[in-house]
Symmetry: C2
Amino acid sequence: MTAAQPAAPRPRGRPRSTRAQEVIRDAATRLFAERGFSRTSVRDIAAAAGVDPTIVIRHFGSKDALFLQTMSVDEGFRGLTEGPLEDLGRNLLRRLVAHADPAQAEVFAALIGALDRPEVRNYVEQSTERHIVQPLIERLTGADAELRARLVTAQILGLLVAVWALRRPDLTSTPLDDVLDIYARAVQTLIDGTAGNDDRSPERGST
Amino acid sequence: MTAAQPAAPRPRGRPRSTRAQEVIRDAATRLFAERGFSRTSVRDIAAAAGVDPTIVIRHFGSKDALFLQTMSVDEGFRGLTEGPLEDLGRNLLRRLVAHADPAQAEVFAALIGALDRPEVRNYVEQSTERHIVQPLIERLTGADAELRARLVTAQILGLLVAVWALRRPDLTSTPLDDVLDIYARAVQTLIDGTAGNDDRSPERGST
DNA sequence: GTCTATACACCGATAGAC
DNA sequence: GTCTATCGGTGTATAGAC
């Protein structure tokens, strides 16, 4: 039709994404998840994808950018705080630990492992903030709701780091249901906020 | 033993201890804690110490070995689980978060940041195991003592990661006492193990 | 324009001369 | 022991080929 439009041989499909980009992304996802950031070189990814190392940079800007673009945990974090508040502790752990697919676990471990990269730290920070902390703040009631939401996130983060990143053997070998039941109670303590702030006078107040 | 000789160029007492080693260690400690592992090069450390880069490797074997030798968290973890069991949750957090000196916090953050190095992960794993998990196992009573000890460690780890490694702004800006009081209760839940294991029922009688 | 190859500065680490 | 020279390897920019 219009002559101004440059020759686009593919009217449908994905005009701006090359097939090479997809192959590179697949290889990067696999290798980063397998070996982590520091032990995966751009040349390794390029070799696995069957392309030249420089076009990896040409398409994705940098190794860090490719890492962040492939190692995304947003999908696994979405809709995490939904469901009844009284069972939220258990459901959080169920979705994040028990029902999580191994691929997401590897992605999380890779992100934690590369945490001294400022951009990675920034992403993990804002991803947990957006998908866990903020939704929790809106759901929690009682005193110190925001602080409690952040502390619940810290609890979750600790279990995820211990299980997926540190690969604590005696924690992963235990049947996960037992771990969930016990840990969920501690998480639920902060969700409920039942503990008074002056003394040991717990009031079961689900306001 | 020997009288203090300020201008002693060659202390003959220790022929194999070089002063360069000490200078390198100081520079490495400062730079690793400041910028983390990946952003600190051996050449940077050598320049800061005023020595040749090859001496750094010659004396410490490798960059990883130097990192592990300087970024040690054993000192800050020692004797952590002492004190009355009923206040252990609060005391753990006090010693690790409130009373911890900033230097130890930076060291911890550097270790977490380099967690995808197998040797670093191994060290963090066995250090928390030796200084927190094992002493806790021997002190806890009741069912699932070992599992609870590991979960308490996960809770602690989560708070440390959130505060020191992730540098959550809204968590560090809050007065630490409030954080400790609230989080300590959740930790104490696992220490006491008061929660029944059959059904979920909000606790009203805490011991 | 998309892709490819040459090239560079830096990295950690080694061998060998003083 | 300390330095010079150098190795293979890294991430990345750039100039050229289709």
